[in-house]
């Protein structure tokens, strides 16, 4: 070990393992995590024959598919051995372990982050019986297509149509314009053979707004796109070049009525539309992803500050006092300023992520019982937390890169790939300014409620107390 780094470790005033255990949620959790990491890494999936930095765009995708398949094969084995469910996906693929193996993103991420959760949240019991088992086994690979070339966060503006035909008991999916083509979903391009598609539902000549449908995109044997399906990849991006983001268009593609996910709203055989208890329920998957995202960006920040801090202990620079050796750059207060705030931010956002994850689970349980009271509050909070945490993470990674001088610019530092991943999160699942404005709608309503003397939900309750006597 580098002697400077060793000296830093010798001088540390607290028990590092104690803090590790606290971060993991207990000594047993640390042990489990380490065991899992050991088990996954010993498979050697993360090892590259040629550094992936030097591969072409196509080769990067092929390598990502290979790694993702081996990783999923391993998860499947774990599930059989340990008889576990979704949590294995989360633990192995989420956070830092998954991104260690698939450093520039995985083409199968959306299968477990969006496809399966949407089926769990929006499909009927009968539909879940039909699809979830196959999805868990990876007999089918799915993704989630919502965003269109001309329509992003404002999902009520989506143009893709699903028109019900009562004669054949089918929906006809159609992309009426270029701007209605689905654009960006990970794994959509050449990986997934099924997809949850969000489209405007028409029945009996009336539009009922956006609804989710499960659509087969490719033949299960040949993987050829099915008739009427226009699918492909969107091209090279700033980062996430392993995620296989795709575009998708429909030319009057027919799917059975049972392929509309009908846990909430329904279309009966004769075309009668049965409204969902709340239109907000369609937004469940997006909220789930935003909540998960906050945790994910914490992993990237933890990596970034670890790299930058260790480097700062090893690196010496300049000679502020004559006849004395070059100090470690960690001794410069400007460097401490860059690093310490990064470390604190990891803890601050990690605890906020845990808090909102807990809230998400509570609200989801309340939803199942028909109680939707806290749904708008969760939506508002998940929007702004997604925006702030991804923006802060991008800033932290960039600040850490800069703190390593020119060496931080090397791909071998890991900063450029990390920056690509976190900065992508600033725009996917809702561009950050749009997210903040969604929260603002809730805040303005809360302000007006407070002004009218009405009680406020816990996370905005302060508005009533601190604003008393000011600007009211």
């Amino acid at each position: 070990v580098n002697p400077d780094l060793q000296r830093e470790r010798d001088n540390c005033t607290f028990n590092v393992t104690e803090l590790t255990n606290l971060i993991d949620g207990g000594a047993q959790k640390t042990e489990e995590r380490r065991k899992r990491e050991e088990m996954v890494l010993k498979e050697g999936i993360h090892l590259d024959e040629v550094p992936s930095e030097y591969l072409s765009h196509k080769e990067k995708y092929e390598l990502a598919v290979k790694k993702a398949c081996y990783l999923f094969k391993m998860i499947r084995r774990l599930q059989e051995e340990e008889n576990t469910g979704m949590e294995n996906y989360q633990e192995v693929l989420g956070g830092s372990l998954g991104s260690a193996i698939l450093r520039d993103g995985s083409p199968l991420t959306l299968h477990y982050v969006m496809f399966i959760p949407t089926l769990m949240g929006q499909a009927t019991v009968e539909q879940q019986v039909l699809w979830i088992g196959r999805a868990f086994n990876c007999d089918i690979i799915g993704t989630y297509a919502q965003t269109e070339l001309g329509h992003g966060t404002f999902i009520r503006g989506l143009e893709t149509t699903a028109t019900y035909d009562p004669d054949t008991k089918e929906f006809v999916l159609h992309s009426p314009t270029l701007t209605s083509y689905k654009w960006w979903p990970g794994g959509l391009a050449h990986t997934a053979n099924y997809c949850i598609v969000v489209a405007q539902l028409y029945t009996k000549g009336q539009c009922h707004g956006i609804h989710p449908f499960i659509v087969q995109l490719r033949d299960e044997e040949t993987h050829m796109p099915l008739p009427g399906i226009k699918v492909g990849e969107i091209g090279a991006k700033l980062g996430m070049n392993g995620t296989n983001n795709g575009f998708l268009g429909f030319d009057k593609v027919r799917i059975p009525r049972e392929h509309m996910l009908m846990k909430n709203a329904k279309v009966l055989e004769d075309g009668t539309y049965v409204r969902a208890p709340s239109s907000k329920l369609t937004y469940g998957t997006m909220m789930f992803v935003r909540v998960v995202l906050v945790n994910d960006v914490c992993s990237y920040m933890a990596k970034a500050v670890t790299i930058a801090t260790r480097y700062s202990a090893v690196r010496h620079q300049s000679q502020p006092k004559p006849d004395e050796p070059e100090p470690q750059i960690l001794d410069y207060v400007t460097q401490q300023h860059k690093l310490a705030i990064g470390i604190a931010t990891v803890h601050a956002l990690r605890l906020s992520a845990a808090w909102i994850w807990n809230m998400y689970n509570n609200v989801t349980a309340e939803l199942d019982a028909g109680d939707m009271e806290r749904l708008p509050e969760l939506h508002a909070l998940s929007c702004c937390l997604k925006a702030i945490s991804t923006a802060d993470a991008a800033e932290t990674v960039e600040r850490c890169r800069l703190s390593c001088g020119g060496h931080g610019y090397m791909l071998a530092s890991s900063f450029p790939l990390m920056y690509g991943m976190v900065t992508a999160a600033c725009t996917y699942e809702g561009e950050n300014t749009v997210m903040l404005l969604q929260t603002a709608r809730y805040l303005v309503k809360a302000w007006q409620q407070a002004k009218g003397g009405n009680p406020l939900t816990p996370t905005v309750a302060y508005i009533a107390s601190v604003s008393a006597g000011r600007r009211s």
């Binding site: 580098n2 803090l19 801090t309 480097y311 960690l330 401490q336 808090w355 090397m410 404005l437 303005v444």
Partner: protein, 192 residues
């Protein structure tokens, strides 16, 4: 209310900033509507302020959560770790106060002297945390295979690893690249 240069005081200050910004947005929207502007146009005209208000609300939420959750966590940890965790909370809260000095001046009773004290407090915290910087990141317990960085490996062999990585460049597979014969040499000899 008088300003308090404490963590709780700063968090309360952030809540005042957030509430103040939301109130200002509502007032602006209403003012614009009174001039005949539609609600949607008034909203759009106020949207820069609205996004700011939303950010302020989120900052207040994160600061509150970080502080309260840490207070809960430290009940069961050793005194040495408790000290460091509280230093980190202090640092984070003071950092954001200094980042948002303008907002605090606008919506709270913070004074210039308070700000000077905050700056000194921040610098003292950096000094205190300096000794534990490496320990704090070691505690994230990220294996080298996961970190995947020549600069950040546990053993600190930064320069050796950078050189090892450099040698993996495909350009180093041969001493002379073919572009020399095809372009560079003819160019230098004026034969291109």
């Amino acid at each position: 209310p008088p300003w308090e240069n404490t963590v709780e005081g700063i968090i309360h200050g952030f809540q005042q900033v957030s509430a103040g910004k939301i109130g200002a947005c509502v007032a602006n929207i209403e003012k614009r509507q009174r001039t005949g502007m539609s609600y949607e146009d008034a909203w759009n005209m106020t949207s820069v302020q609205l996004a700011n208000a939303s950010e302020a609300h989120c900052r207040a939420f994160i600061l509150t959560t970080y502080f309260t959750e840490t207070e809960n966590q430290i009940k069961s940890v050793s005194p040495a770790l408790r000290t460091v965790l509280l230093q980190l909370v202090d640092l984070y809260v003071v950092y954001w106060a200094l980042q948002r000095v303008g907002d605090l001046l606008r919506f709270t009773s913070i004074s210039e002297r308070d700000i000077e004290q905050l700056q000194s407090w921040y610098e003292e915290l950096l000094l205190k945390l300096r000794v534990n910087a490496v320990g704090l990141v070691d505690a994230f317990d990220i294996r080298d295979e996961i970190l995947h960085s020549a600069l950040g490996a546990y053993d600190g062999r930064v320069y050796e690893r950078l050189m090892e990585e450099a040698l993996k460049s495909p350009l180093n597979a041969e001493p002379v690249n073919e572009s020399f014969h095809k372009y560079l040499k003819p160019f230098m000899q004026g034969k291109l």
